[in-house]
């Protein structure tokens, strides 16, 4: 059987640096072919070549056995190849139907027919989304459904998913995997890029591992245990991923929350967190985790309830107020909220605490350099120069810059929202050890994560939220995926009966 798509000896260089070297890749109709590797391994570059966004310097592209040269993304789409990027390419102010047919809107639009066609496409994916809804109002998971429907509207033969579940919670991710299985059954070829290996083992028929712009190997999940796969990606076994939890002493209480209630329906949140503790905050996206974190950080108002910080009443009016009193936040959207991408690493690292390195509002350059040098060494940030923009760094090192900012500001409580999203396996390990270090330095650490393995590997205990309420707490001997999900979702059923009563 001829492969649907065949890439042969693809080579791509940027300014003389090899991003891809002689990479072979093929995709059959009706299979899920996963592509894994650390950030910088060349996965996305390879898919950009396939999607016509970049032209390779060498190699051949064959579609259904016929050699072609893609003129651009539009050409690729015309030939049935759709790439769904992590940052979705939807127009937020347009309706669902308009987005789906954006590239192919007729000159005179028959709205009822267009909406009907959109509805059929979305239902084929097992969803109910109004074609008239504005995309900006949709949840991320539903936006992704719109992206997929957009691809389906164009008689797609192959779809590339570039880290689709990085922005989704577990439940939504499960549904996406079901959609992908459905597409596969219809004979669509799927390329699936992800850092989440558990997903890959659930749906991939074949896995290609890339490292440093080369193809390491193509294997089947059945014949390759996960430890083997990770070794191929990084040359390091899984057990070392989280590192050992260091010995540390749990000290006095830092934050205490009593009966917190937020205007958006989050309620009944009670917990406390002590110096030296790493506490997880788990549950599905939309369960209220991020909202609680934002309330603690003063980014949103609370409706009622009391908080104390270091024994004193604490009612943050703004992030500025929260930072002043010793709270730090590593936000979930690194590029949008964590760093100023175009600004120097040096300036990003000192942003949250400038008073020690300024006099009368002016910087003392040598003092600042000294502070940043120490941070770079201590966090082992890999960079060319501290005066390069943050955008020159890999995802993991960008995240380390955000951490450096808070190491420098030295808060008592630090909240990390999805600290390793979009970060490759190697950098993850280093970030985990930095989180452990924060705790052993006597800080209280609150970690929000949708990756259950991450919570289990990192935390001393896990608070589980569901449907806007704190549903319970898991101790280390209870760290199991089923327990966490049951706690989060059972609460859901309970609360809906309550609402009816």
């Amino acid at each position: 059987m001829t492969a649907l798509i065949q890439l042969e000896n693809i080579t791509k260089t940027f300014a003389g640096v090899h991003a891809l070297t002689d990479v072979d890749f093929d995709l059959k109709a009706g299979e899920v072919h996963a592509l894994v590797g650390e950030n910088g391994a060349g996965k996305s570059t390879l898919m950009r070549v396939l999607g016509g966004e970049m032209r390779a310097n060498g190699g051949r592209t064959l579609i259904e056995g016929e050699e072609i040269r893609l003129a651009g993304p539009t050409d690729a789409i015309r030939r049935g190849i759709s790439v769904i990027h992590q940052e979705m390419a939807l127009a937020p102010d347009l309706s669902v139907a308009e987005n789906i047919f954006l590239g192919a809107l007729p000159h005179g639009i028959n709205w009822p027919r267009l909406n009907e066609r959109a509805r059929i496409l979305i239902e084929r994916l097992g969803f109910q989304i109004s074609p008239r809804a504005q995309v900006a109002d949709l949840a991320v998971a539903h936006q992704q459904v719109v992206e997929i429907a957009k691809a389906l509207s164009r008689d797609v033969k192959a779809i590339v998913f570039d880290e689709p579940t990085a922005v989704l919670a577990s439940g939504d991710a499960e549904r996406l995997l079901e959609i992908i299985k459905g597409l596969r059954a219809e004979g669509v070829g799927i390329v699936y890029i992800s850092h989440r290996l558990d997903e890959i083992y659930k749906i991939a028929d074949r896995i290609t591992v890339m490292k440093d712009g080369r193809r390491v190997s193509t294997v089947t999940p059945a014949s390759t245990p996960v430890e083997e796969l990770i070794r191929m990606m990084v040359g390091r076994p899984l057990s070392q991923l989280f590192g050992d939890k260091p010995d540390k002493t749990v000290g006095e209480e830092v934050l205490r929350i009593d009966d917190l209630r937020l205007p958006n329906g989050v309620r009944g949140v009670n917990f406390s967190i002590h110096r030296g503790e790493v506490v997880g905050l788990g549950g599905l996206v939309g369960s209220g985790r991020t909202e609680v974190a934002r309330a603690i950080f003063g980014a949103d108002r609370i409706a009622s309830g009391a908080m104390t910080l270091n024994g004193r009443p604490y009612a943050p009016r703004s992030p500025r107020h929260a930072v002043k009193q010793g709270v730090g936040l590593v936000p979930e959207d690194r590029k949008g909220q964590g760093v100023v991408l175009d600004m120097e690493i040096r300036k990003n690292a000192t942003m949250a605490s400038t008073s020690p390195i300024t006099r009368a509002g002016f910087f003392k350059p040598s003092a600042e350099r000294g502070v940043v040098e120490r941070l770079i060494q201590s966090l082992r940030i890999k960079l060319g120069s501290m005066n390069d923009p943050v955008s020159s760094l890999s995802g993991g090192n960008q995240q380390k810059v955000v951490l450096a900012k808070w190491f420098n500001a030295d808060p008592d409580l630090i909240i990390l929202d999805e600290p390793t999203r979009g970060v490759d396996v190697g950098a993850k390990t280093e970030i985990y050890s930095l989180i452990h270090r924060l705790a052993s330095e006597g800080k209280a650490v609150l970690v929000i994560s949708s990756e259950h393995a991450e919570l289990f590997g990192l935390c001393d205990r896990i608070l589980v939220m569901g449907d806007g309420r704190l549903r319970g707490e898991l101790k280390p001997h209870e760290f199991e995926e089923e327990k966490l999900l049951t706690l989060s979702m059972n609460g859901h059923r309970q609360s809906s009966t309550e609402a009816r009563a």
């Binding site: 300014a15 500025r320 930072v323 100023v340 942003m351 060319g384 390069d388 020159s392 760094l393 500001a409």
Partner: protein, 328 residues
């Protein structure tokens, strides 16, 4: 852009000569030098001391306003009211001089400009209204105030205004005083933008406001400040005009907001915020001045000049950003 391409792109900047980056950094300067060469070839009258001093003096008002505009544009804002606030500064200075001691009168006039900026800035920063619309409203209102105060007539400050006019029309160290004031303010702005906490945060806010806010910084106060600065500097610019002409007038600075924005943009600042520099803005101002001057010397009719100016602005911006347009 995914992380992967970002990593791969990085070595471009190291060691290798990067044409695009060089153009963005030094493009304004290169254009300026080319322009000087053309100017010199065009007319012998150009490189005379008298002519150069003339250009410097003419551009001092635009230059002072461009400093404030740069700060505003760095935060991703815009200030359309500078020309009108200059008129208000000119008129109120001429009136106040008649009843207050000169320094007090001037401080009050600058304060009025700052107050206009405070109103726009507060609406933009705290009520999150669009800068374009708010400063457009201020542009109309401030001009109106200047007309009311002056009853539409030129205002003579009388004998109390003599020292001001003496300042505006004489030279120190061989340069016209207004030009020295402009250069001094540029130097001050350079220090503030590059070495102060304020300057750094203004730039950071333009690049990524949310990241700055979540670092525990009160963004609205910084946004408010840049409009106050812009308003105060616009009033100073208006006073400079009065110091040269000896008259306070509500027609001062009409249409200047566009010249000022053009100067800042020619200086390589991005209207999307976060990118721009003080020295390049000064060069942008001088480019604008020299172009006008060459065309005058070459005898280009006034109406034609406007068309050429439009073309030249586009060319300047193309040269700065061209490398990104033609990439990949």
């Amino acid at each position: 852009m995914s992380e992967e391409t970002a990593v791969i792109n990085e070595p471009q900047g190291l060691g290798r000569f990067n044409l695009g980056k060089a153009f963005r950094q030094y493009g304004t300067f290169i254009i300026f030098v080319l322009l000087l060469i053309v100017a010199q070839a065009q007319s012998d009258a150009f490189l005379t001391e008298r002519n150069i001093m003339n250009v410097l003096r003419q551009m001092s008002g635009i230059g002072v306003m461009a400093i404030g505009m740069l700060f505003v544009i760095l935060t991703r804002g815009i200030d359309l009211s500078v020309g009108s606030i200059a008129a208000l500064g000119s008129v109120s200075a001429a009136i106040l001089i008649q009843s207050y001691p000169l320094p007090v009168a001037l401080v009050m006039a600058v304060g009025i400009g700052g107050a206009c900026g405070l109103i726009s800035g507060a609406l933009i920063a705290f009520f999150r209204l669009p800068a374009f619309v708010i400063t457009l409203a201020m542009m109309t209102a401030a001009r109106g105030f200047a007309l009311i105060l002056s009853s539409g007539q030129p205002i003579m400050p009388g004998p109390d205004g003599q020292p001001l006019q003496a300042f505006g029309t004489s030279f120190s160290l061989g340069f016209p005083n207004p030009a020295i004031l402009m250069i001094g303010l540029f130097a001050l702005a350079f220090i503030v933008l590059n070495y102060s906490r304020f300057g750094r945060l203004v730039k950071a806010i333009g690049s990524n406001e949310e990241a700055v806010r979540l670092s525990g910084i009160s963004v609205p106060w910084y946004v408010l400040s840049v409009y106050v600065i812009s308003g105060a500097l616009a009033a100073i610019a208006g006073i400079l005009v009065t110091s040269r002409s000896g008259v306070g007038s509500a027609s001062v600075g009409a249409g200047n907001e566009l010249d000022v924005i053009a100067a800042v943009v020619i200086g390589g600042a991005s209207l999307m915020g976060g990118r721009g520099g003080v020295i390049n803005t000064l060069i942008g101002v001088m480019i604008l001045g020299v172009i006008g001057n060459i065309m005058n010397l070459a005898g280009v009719p006034g109406y034609h000049q406007q068309v050429y100016l439009g073309v030249i602005i586009v060319v300047a911006v193309l040269i700065q950003n061209g490398s990104t347009l033609f990439r990949r």
